[in-house]
């Protein structure tokens, strides 16, 4: 049986209710808007680098609890990280959400493991990974990010400020 019931546990509900780093940075060096056309959810991610490290990061938008908590925990996890480390975490999170990461193996997932159960809910995987797609798009200055993009799964709209 799936372990996705664990999805709606305290930590996710708490981040949904009191999202961390919620808002928009006024002078962001990178930003992108992610959109899930299947449900109309959208979030924006803004961030600033201080030399090599992500100094400030914020997100804002309208979304379900899974998406909002994922975004909130993402911003907390990513702050202070180098871009290279952040990229590794993005890949690990995407792998975990799609059931391709063995949590027994060495990884940087940490508290984000609360989202592991989402891989048992194919219709909700996109909710969990939208913020991560959006972050990826912000790094890469992709014009538009969406969970339903044609070629590139990281298809989110970006303002490359």
């Amino acid at each position: 049986m799936s372990n996705y019931k664990a999805l709606y546990q305290e930590v996710i509900l708490d981040h949904n209710k009191k999202p961390r780093n919620y808002g928009t940075l006024a002078h962001a060096s990178h930003h992108a808007v992610g959109h899930n056309p299947l449900c109309g959810d959208h979030i924006s991610v803004t961030l600033n680098f201080d030399r090599e490290c992500i100094d400030c990061i914020a997100f804002q938008g309208e979304s379900c609890a899974i998406c909002k908590a994922s975004a909130s925990m993402m911003t907390a996890a990513i702050k202070g990280k180098s871009r290279a480390d952040a990229e590794i975490l993005i890949q690990e999170f995407l792998a975990m959400a799609t059931g391709k990461l063995n949590l027994e193996d060495a990884n940087h997932i940490g508290r984000l493991a609360v989202f592991a159960g989402v891989c048992d809910l194919p219709t909700r995987v996109k909710c969990a990974i939208l913020p991560w797609h959006t972050l990826h798009a912000a790094f890469h200055s992709v014009a538009i990010a969406s969970t339903e993009a044609e070629a590139d799964p990281m298809h989110v709209s970006n303002g490359n400020a």
């Binding site: 709606y8 949904n16 449900c39 109309g40 379900c64 609890a65 219709t123 909700r124």
Partner: protein, 419 residues
Amino acid sequence: MNSLHRAVNPRSASAFDLERIRADFPILQLQVEGKPLVYLDNAASSQMPQQVMDRLTRYQTSEHANINRAVHYLSETATTEYDAARCKLQRFINASEEREVIFTSGTTDAINLVMHGYGRRFIKPGDEIILTTLEHHSNIVPWQMLAEETGAKIRVVPINDAGELLIDEYEKLFNARTRFVGVIHVSNALGSINPVKQMIAFAHAHGVPVLVDGAQAAPHLQVDVQDLDCDFYAFSGHKLCGPTGIGVLYGKAALLEKMQPFKGGGDMILSVTFEKTTYNIIPHKFEAGTPPIAAAIGLGAAIDYLSTIGMGVIAAYEQELLNYATEQMSRMPGVRIVGTAKNKASVISFTVDGVHPHDVGTLLNQEGVAVRTGHHCAQPLMQRFKVPATSRASFAFYNSMAEVDALIAGIRSVQKVFA
């Protein structure tokens, strides 16, 4: 169980035997997440009774061959049964002639047939097509494609906050350029039953034909195309306890004859040379290629099944389910029903304060309750209500009052999780 629950059940039981009906649907015995399945996504697709499955098996076991072709036994049997299914559909919607019933792959296919067959022939640059805010994407997108191709314009009938069409506004949209009206009979997203008969009469007074999208109405109402006087009526088999991949376009014979074919191929021709093809008579002109024979015969069996119970009886019982669910849900703090039209079929769209519809759907699923969450293929309508999405419970005649209670209990548990 409250007093309403008790009051409703005996009346329904006198109309039909719910337990017996439920026994006809094997899937209703399913357990989901260790709980009995409570299937409330009937507006998306209904379940199939054993009688229809048995009919499909019998067809494949002892009747299948291609139709309208060979002279052998099986081909003749399959052709006879396919034609008999058409006849059942004709009676079901009270069409005056069998040839006015065209088998399509579904409602979407039927509407596209009208767009290609009628729209592309008769709609010109500057002409206007009237649609409504309540339309499903399947009755918006084909007309947008036509408008883009021909330079026609789309005008949209607004609704009020209850989700009812503003008929005064509808009438004001008519002018000398109005060429076509497309209207949904019952809103799939809100359940509103539209006054299509009155709208058709008004359009006809202006010489304008009307297509009615009946995908959501055919399963819940007694449809009489002659009484409505609609020019086209489209619906799907899989919402009528039939198989997927089959649907119906009813069209008035005179219009169907004037239209160009939608798809070219075998069966839709009388004669073919490389110089010229003569098209077959209706309905065959619109049924190119081998049709979904088994699905059509299965739909015929589903119509038999529904007719045995009676669409009037079904409509009355579903109304009781709707009234009970509406009353229960309107008493729940933090629950908002989206779409409160006076005339509604058994569909309830709702939102739960502070909880995204997708979270509602996932958590209800954990209780075994299946509802639809999302925009219901009606994004313009969601925009009108300023919600990205809703949750939708849609009831069929095989649902019980106890299942309404399970929905209510499920919503309460959602609220508890998010408290």
